[in-house]
Structure formats: C-alpha cells, structure tokens
Subunit: 308 residues, 2 copies
C-alpha cells in the first residue's frame, strides 16, 4: 500500500445527443491529474495550483467526495490532495466530475481499495452536488468507469456500461465564453409535450441500438435532441454553423456537451474528425471567439493510476 | 407466380414497457390467416367469415392496405381476400395490424414481390389509419418483419430490428372486456414533466441495451413505464394483482399490451412462463373475468407464406 499516488480522471461529454441526463462518455486525452498523499493525523487538505476554485475541503468537490468515502469506510485518515486542473470549469466537459472522480479513485487506492470503482460513483456525486447543486451522475460515471455510460436510475443508483464501436472519435470545441449553469437550467421547460418526448426516446433507443450494433447510420440519425438542444443552443455563438459544418464534413452527429458551451461532434473516421475540427476552428476564428479544440477516442478505462 | 396464396401475420405486443409508441414485438403462435386470390377484372373483394368488421374494401384495413400497394406499383389487378380473424379486435394485440400486414404481404407475393417487406410497412399503416384514425407503425412493423422492432422515426419512416435474446417467452392474458381506444387515448396527458420523461428514456435505453446484451436483470428493471401504464392500468381489472403475480413468479417484467386490455409478462424461462400463465388464469378466474391466455416465443420471421 503506497502512501502517495498520482491519478488521472478523464473529461466527459454528458447529455449525449437525445440522452439528456442519462448518457455520458469519457474522453481519452484530457482530464484532471491529482496527487494524493496520506498524511499524519486527520483531515483533508487541498491544493489547486493556478486555480481560483475553493480549497476548503467542505466546499471543494474533491474534498467532499473523499470525505464521503472516508465516512463510508469508517476512516479518519488524513489525506492531502493536489489537483492539477486541465478540464476548465464551466466548459461543459465535466470539470468538477473529473476532480471528484479522480479524488475518490485515488483515495480508495491509497486506502487499499476497500471499494470497487462502481461503488465510488455515489461519493463523486456528492462532490458534484457541491459544484452544481445537484448530485448528478452522468459525468462522474463515465469519468470513473470510462466508456459510454447510461445512468438508468438514481434511486437506487444504477449505471450501465453500454457497448459501443471502438473506432468512434469525438471532436470537441470549447468556446472561451461563460454560460452560467443556472441560466442553462432555467431556460428548460418543466413540462414537455408527450409527442416530443416520444420522438426523443425513439432517438435514445436508436442511439443505444446503433452503438450496440456499430450501425453508424443509425447512430448518426439518432444523435438528435429535440428537447434541450433547440433551447440551449441559443446560448452558444455559432452553434448552427458548427453543426452544419460538422455534418457537411462527414460527422455522424453534433450536439452540445453537457450544458455547454462546448460542442461535440461524433465521427467514425480520424480523417473526418480532423476535417470537422478544422471547420470548427475556422468558424470560431471567423467569429473571433477564443477556443480550445480536442480530438479524442472514447476512453475505455476511466480513472486510472499514473504512478504510485 | 401463383394465383392464390395463404399467409399468416402474427399478433403483436406494442408499447412494450417504457417504449410507448416506438417498441413492438411479434408473437409466434397467434395471428390472422389470410387467403388471397387474383381475380379477373379490377377491384378488391373481401370476405371475413364469422366477423362483424366491415368488408367494404375502402373501410377494411386489409382492403385499404392492399389498395395502397396496388396504387404504388401502378396495378389495377383484382384481388380477392378472405380473412380468418384469430386476433380479437380490441384486444390490444394488434388485430388490425395483423390483417393489414398479412394482406399487403400476401398481395405483394401474388404480384411477384415487387417490393421488399420493409417497404410494405407504409401500406399496412394506411390500413391502421382506417382502424384507429392514426397511421401508427408499432404493430404493423413487428407483424411484417417479426422480432422486436423500434419505430425510431415517422417522417421519414424508419424501423429498426433490435437484437434480443432468443429465449424470451411472452405470456399474454386477454380479458374479454371492452376498452374503447378513444378512452385509452383520451386519458393520457398531452404534456408530461421533463423529469418523468427522463426516467422513461432512461428505461428505454436500459431495455434496448439489456436486449442487445441479453442482460435479463437490466431488461427486467427497465421494463417500467412511468407515464402510460399508471394511467391506463386503471381501465384493466386486476392489473395490479396480475403484475404482482407475474413478478412473484419470476417474470422479468409485466405491463400493458398496446392500449390494453391485454396484459403481457416477459420471461426468460418456459417453466416460469407456465407459472406466470397459471397465476394470470387464477387471478381472472377468481375475479370471474373471461379471458384468453397465450404463451409464445418472439416470432423472428413475421408475415409468412403458409401455402402457395
């Protein structure tokens, strides 16, 4: 049992297409890195070099998550956590989830792995609740488990790892603008027409079936969100142009990552992904919007040890 | 090319669990039988021995469906259709769909198969529109194609054959009571809370994923309809008792077939299916309700030729 560990937990795309609040996927090449060290005495101490986020463990997503784990296993072990944020807060790429998932994963390792990865989801959700006010699981589940995940149920929590074709490539562009989560929540309607809901769950069924059978045409057609995207896309400059460019360049589909402002395109060919990325970049360069661009496979492993 | 053909088109369970308006499955051992014969001159003539349903081809689901097909292929061939109804009208087992699917399938065969089965769905839907006022596809699709089908989209029509484990067994009980489709439609709310819709599409995703991976536990948990069943089940006597009995006897799940009043249970073991069927029978015997009982595998072939 090591007394220090370095871990990685991936950034994630939640609300994938029609799968609002239920579908998420993990990215390969972007995520927070955390160092966790056992320390003498009790209490969690947190450093976040270069970040303005709160380091008080009661207000910090990693602190709250790890405290939940410690309480569960009945430990008062002191732990020092250094978080290197790579996933920008407010990006729509599961920034808080990446820190929460990495922290509980690392702490569980340091404690001798008393719990399975799956059982850590609920503690990372406690961290999410601190960050967003709601203990949602659609980012922390893929960040911990990797892959393409379904949160089928909350009470009790049930997360399913979906089958998906391994050659999928995600292109994500993160415009450097601020969209308040409270705004993106507020503009959603509380009630929706049954007819529209039927269309949405038809697409959910098509997407899950297409992923399971590697039917790219079905995946593409099903990556349509008729409820949330039409509303939230109004908060994202150039969304329509990005989507048109993605589809014209051969992406299977394109939608909002999480609650935005990041936009993702799903592709099944690295060359197409490169073209889509270039079209995204061109669009935001024309509009004069600073941005970060990512091209990634779907991460199959989730949170992992970098060194111990 | 034969001048006469005898065909079978299966009864179907639509609105499977959470898949309201999108998921349907075909049964193996119940369905309408139709004889279709080319006749001199033009026009469609229909006989339905022992049935009170209209035989005027403009008012009959089979007549309207076959006329749609004839119009599409530019034929004015006369066809005589004799329909032996085995699927009771108003049972919730796709009675009109069985006649419509059998009729277009048989007529297409007699015409030398100008169209594929898949392309016949839209003509059978025309028949459905005559019977129910709405050209829905969730019964005609499985009756024609067999298996477990998803109607992902209507405009344009897109039907997907889902993967499913072949050992599933369906138990259906049809209480001999009348529930008017207009009643079962009217009591549905036009708007639903977004939170409830999310729960429903989580279950849709779980069901499709469970079927694809033969995860029986996931199938069972996902066979939950939080929107339609709570309302429509009030029109079905003893529904709560049937469902409890089904689950206690080991069924994966239990819900309403179509818009009722038939109730189905999904099982993964023939012995469990027998037990569930007995418990259904006992329940309705106690309540003094006449009923028909069916135990069936999922039909993989759909509409088929019996003799030509």
């Amino acid at each position: 049992m090591s007394s220090s560990i370095k871990v990685f937990a991936p950034a994630t795309v939640a609300n994938v297409g029609p799968g609002f609040d239920i579908l998420g996927l993990a990215m390969d090449n972007i995520g927070d890195q955390l160092e966790l060290t056992l320390r003498d005495g009790t209490g969690i101490a947190i450093d976040m070099p270069g970040s303005d986020l709160p380091t008080d463990p009661k207000l910090n997503v990693a602190g709250v998550s790890v405290q939940g784990l410690l309480d569960q296993v009945g430990s008062n072990q002191g732990i020092h956590i250094t978080i290197h944020k790579n996933v920008a807060p407010g990006s729509g790429l599961g920034s808080s989830a990446s820190s929460a998932a990495g922290a509980v994963f690392g702490a569980n390792q340091l404690l001798g792995s008393p719990l399975r990865k799956y059982d850590l989801i609920k503690f990372a959700m406690m961290g999410e609740a601190v960050a967003s006010g709601k203990a949602h699981a659609d980012n922390v589940a893929p960040s911990l488990l990797g892959g393409f995940t379904l949160v089928r149920n909350y009470y009790p929590l049930e997360v399913v790892n979906l089958s998906f074709p391994k050659d999928l490539v995600i292109v994500v562009i993160h415009p450097q603008i601020e969209v308040k989560t409270s705004d993106s929540k507020r503009i959603l309607r509380k009630d929706i027409p049954l007819e529209v809901a039927i269309k949405q769950w038809g697409n959910v069924a098509g997407l899950v079936s297409g992923l399971a059978s590697a039917d790219y045409e079905l995946i593409g057609k099903s990556l349509e969100d008729v409820i949330v995207e039409p509303v939230r896309s109004m908060l994202i400059p150039g969304f329509g142009e990005l989507k048109t460019a993605a589809l014209e360049n051969g992406a299977l589909g394109c939608s909002i990552s999480g609650s935005g402002p990041s936009v993702f395109a799903l592709c099944n060919d690295p060359e197409i992904a490169e073209k889509v990325a270039k079209s995204f970049k061109d669009e935001y360069t024309t509009l004069g919007i600073d941005h970060e661009l990512y091209i990634s496979n779907i991460n199959e492993e989730g949170a992992k040890i970098i060194s111990a």
